[in-house]
Symmetry: C2
Amino acid sequence: MKLTILFGGASFEHEISIVSAITLKQKLSQFDLSFIFCDGDHKFYLIDDKKMKATTFSKAEHKNMPELTLRNGAFIQKSMFSSREHKNIVLNLIHGADGEDGSIASMLDFFSIKYIGPRSEACTFSYDKRYTKYLCEAIGVKSLKYESFYKNEHKNITLPFPIIVKPASLGSSIGVSIVKDEHDLDYALDTAFEYDKHVLVEPFIDGVMEYNLAGYIANEKMHFSIVEEPQKEEFLDFEKKYMDFSRSEQVLKAEIGEELIVKLKSNFEKIYRGLFEGALIRCDFFVIDGEVYLNEINPVPGSMANYLFEDFTHSIEELSNSLPHSKRVKVTYDYIHSISQAKGK
Amino acid sequence: MKLTILFGGASFEHEISIVSAITLKQKLSQFDLSFIFCDGDHKFYLIDDKKMKATTFSKAEHKNMPELTLRNGAFIQKSMFSSREHKNIVLNLIHGADGEDGSIASMLDFFSIKYIGPRSEACTFSYDKRYTKYLCEAIGVKSLKYESFYKNEHKNITLPFPIIVKPASLGSSIGVSIVKDEHDLDYALDTAFEYDKHVLVEPFIDGVMEYNLAGYIANEKMHFSIVEEPQKEEFLDFEKKYMDFSRSEQVLKAEIGEELIVKLKSNFEKIYRGLFEGALIRCDFFVIDGEVYLNEINPVPGSMANYLFEDFTHSIEELSNSLPHSKRVKVTYDYIHSISQAKGK
C-alpha cells in the first residue's frame, strides 16, 4: 500500500516532526512510502527516501530536491517539459503549528487529497487548550479547573499554588512551567507568553496518576491501543520529549483494573466520535480519586503513538481504508438563470 | 487604497457570494478594487472588473480569464514567459463552505496573505451551530436550548412543538424548516440532512423580537453598526435572502431603548473579542423577556452588512489597517545540531 508521510512545518515542533518521520519510516516499512517535507518557508519538497535523516534538513539539502505545489487531487512536481502527480493518501505528521492548527487539514481538504489526521474543526478543539476545556464542558468529560490570560492582561490568578503555566496552544511541554509560589510566577508567565498570546493556568497536582490512550475509528468502530502509564517525572522537558518522539518499541500495559480501562475508553470515545474521524489521536488523562480527567488531546501524536499499538501497520492500513471524504458542494446557477430569464436576457 | 474581493466558492451560497461581490463593487467604489473568483472546482480566476455581473459566472465566461494560484505572499498569475503577483489585502466574501468553514482562512494564513475575514478558529465556532452553542456556554452568552442529531441516529426529540429544524452548518436559511407538529417532522429532518450530516433542533418562538448588530475591532477598539430590526417574516426563504444579499441602502435604526442597545453590544463584544479579530461580523440576536439570546453569528455577512454602517468605506479602510498578522514560527535546528555534534559528525 502507498502512503505519503507529510512532515516538518513552520512550528516549534519542526525538529520532532523530522524525528517522528524517521521513526515511521522504520515502523511502516511494509508500506510503499514516500516523504514530503514542509520547510520553514512553507515550501513542499519530495524527499529521496535514502536521505531521510535529520542532517538532510539541518543542512538544507532538501532544497536541492524536487519542489512540489498543491493542486486539485495531488501534490504536483513540475519539471521543464512535464509535470508529475503525487496522489497517495497523506499521513499528516506535522506536530504543532501547521499540522495541528487546521492549516494542513484545510488545504488537503480544499484540494481533495485524502489524509490521515485531524480535520480543521478537530484541530480547533485540540490545538488551543482553552477550546479543549469548552469541548469537555459541552460533552461531559471532566478536566481540571483553569484560568486563562491574554498577554498584558492584568488579572489576578485565583487558583492556589502550586500551579502549572502553559501557552494555550503548544504541545511537547514547550514554554510550560510548574510554579510553586508567587515568586516564580512572573518568569513562568513571561516564558509562556513567548510562545503564545494566550496562557492557561491549572492546578499542579504532585504525583497525580497519568494514563495515555490512543485510538481511531475504522469501519465505524472504535479501535483502542493499550493504556500506558507514562514515565513519572514532574513533566517531560523538551529534550526528553524530543528523544521520546523516536520511540518505536512497544511499551508495557499499565497495571490497572478493567473498570478504569473501561472509564478511560468511554471518555476517549466521547471526545473522538463526531469530531476526530480520520485521525489517530492520543488522549492523556489524569485519574484523581477514581475519576478520569482529560489532560490533553494529541491529534498528531509523536511518531503516531506507534509504541502503544500491537499491530501498528495493520492499524494504519485499516484507518487509511476508512477515511472520511470531504464532499465538495456542486455549484449551480439556478437563481441567476431564473433572474436573467425573467429579465428576458 | 487597494483591495481584492475574493468571492464564489464551492458552496450552496455560491450565487449569493456573487451577488454580494457585485454589491460591494458599487459600495466600495472609492477603493482600487480587484476581483478574484473561486469557482466550483476550487480554481481561482482574476475577473475583469467590467465583467463583474452574474451572467459572467453562470455562462462560465470566467474560464477565459487569467487563472491564479496561491503562493507565499500572493496570488500568482502565470503567463508563457513571466508571472505577475497579486498581493493586495483580500476581503474574504465567500459565504458558507470554503469562506466560513476555515478553508480560505487557513490557506491565506499559510501563504501569509493579509485578509479581512474570520480566522480558522473563529470559523469553527460560527460555521457549525453546535459549536456556537459550546462557545455561548463557555463565555456566558445566552442561546436557545437545542438538541442535535447525526444522520441515521434514532433519537427522540424532547423539545415541545413548534420547533425549528436546521442543518448544523449552513446559513441563508437553506434546509431550514419550522415544524408545528409531529406530522411534518420527518420531511423537515430529511430536508435538513440533505445539506449536512448534523442537524440541530431549537424551539420556534412565534413573534420573537429579533435584532441584528454588526461590528469589528480596529485599533484595539470595538466599532459597532446601528442595530437593525430585520423584516418580520416567519423566516426568510432562500430566494428572499438571495435578494437580501444585494442590499446597499442604509437601513433605519431599530426603535429600541439605550439599555437594550448596551446589552446587545455587550453580548456582541463577548463573542467577538479574542476570537473574531480581523473580521467584520454580524450577530443576530433574539430578545425574550428583556434577555438577549444569540441566534447566530455571520462571520462573512451578506454584502458585509454594508447597509448597517454609516460610513462603510471608512469602516473597511479602518479594519484593513488593523488586521492581525499571522506570525510564522522561525524554524531552528538546535537539537539536531547538538545531537550530530555529540555523535562527532
